[in-house]
Amino acid sequence: MAQSLAKEFTKGLWAEIPPFRLVLGLCPTLAVTKSVENGIGMGLATTFVLVFSNLLISLLRNVIPTKVRIACYIVIIATFVTIVELVMQAFTYPLFLKLGIFIPLIVVNCIVLGRAEAFASKNNPVLAVADGLGIGIGFTLSLASLGAVREILGAGTITIWGGNPVFDITTWYQPFTYMVEAPGAFAALGLMLAGMNLISKK
């Protein structure tokens, strides 16, 4: 039990890390990773939704009729997404403004629905939470590192939670804004995916 628990948790961190291994949820990945801060915010919001929707769907897996399961999953996921949206508005308003439309779009994020359908609906609540947490943290790490690559190349700085940049190479580096524009997201994602494939091949 403990072993499979650890396995379900850690698979999300490398073996099935989204969006690199589990190539799902590319819309928020490409759109919001202009900066580390946005990536972390989006990742944490998705993690919250993943953990709680996985938990609830796993608890209700014997109650939900098969024919309307997708509708039920969507109701559950949409509820948690709306909660995240309201809480973000109340407590981290500037971040909410930056992420904007991509918060409500977590409802249709394939990672969340994918985990519900492929994992939570077939496993017990403890495993489902471990799975959600692992995938969620993996997603957060991916978005943060993608955000870091794009922010460093595109802006030359890293700024977290306002204030002064914690990292600044603009003294000797000329940033190119291409990386923080939409096409830069594809380039950065592709290169990171290639890098990951190279490492895991050995």
Binding site: L60, K67, C72, V75, L86, V87
Partner: protein
């Protein structure tokens, strides 16, 4: 039959519980969200419109009741001693829902001091220019209450932003609404300020 019944019961229960939960969270966060909107959306717009007022429009705000809503009014004492008020209207039918427009109107001249977009969910880079690029909203500066503030395409006086006509039109709707609202509320506003 049994299967159908269970589908209906489960979905109904799930939807009702979710609805109840959301209502609770909504009412729990409502006040705080209002505060945050005031701090991060309205305050910057007001500061930008009333850059040289001698009072604190945010502190001196008051509410006026109209037939269907309560409107927050921010009074500003301009440097030359004249009075102006700022309030927010919603322009229906933007690309991503309603667009909030903070409009400042001079009470002495009956003309617009300016307008700033506050809340919106428009496409980044296109409609969002209504907020980020002041060129579009600066067209409202010094317009009188009788000016037709519709888009030129709608026989008005305002140039639409290229590539963002829907957004531009929603903003002008908000401005026109502000004109009507101001005409109706002016006596009340003057009474409140004195």
């Amino acid at each position: 039959m049994r299967e159908m019944l269970s589908m209906i019961v489960v979905l109904t229960l799930l939807a009702s519980v979710s609805g109840g939960l959301l209502a609770a969270v909504k009412s729990g966060t409502e006040l705080r969200i209002e505060e945050q909107i005031l701090k991060f959306q309205k305050a910057p717009a007001i500061e930008s419109l009333f850059s040289n007022v001698t009072n604190d429009p945010l502190k001196e705000r008051f509410n006026l009741e109209t037939e269907d809503a309560s409107i927050q009014i921010f009074p500003g004492k301009m440097a030359d001693g004249s009075m102006a008020v700022a309030f927010e209207t919603l322009g229906k039918g933007g690309y991503g829902g309603d667009i909030g427009l903070m409009v400042a109107i001079s009470l002495d001249k009956d003309s617009l001091v300016g307008a700033r977009v506050t809340t919106h969910a428009e496409t980044p880079g296109l409609g969002s220019r209504a907020k980020d690029d002041l060129q579009f909203v600066s067209q409202f500066n010094d317009k009188t209450m009788d000016t037709n503030l519709a888009l030129k395409a709608d026989n008005g006086t305002i140039d639409a932003m290229s590539g963002a006509t829907v957004t531009s039109r929603a903003v002008t709707r908000a401005a026109i609404q502000a004109q009507t609202l101001y005409k109706n509320l002016k006596p009340e506003i003057i009474k409140q300020i004195q």
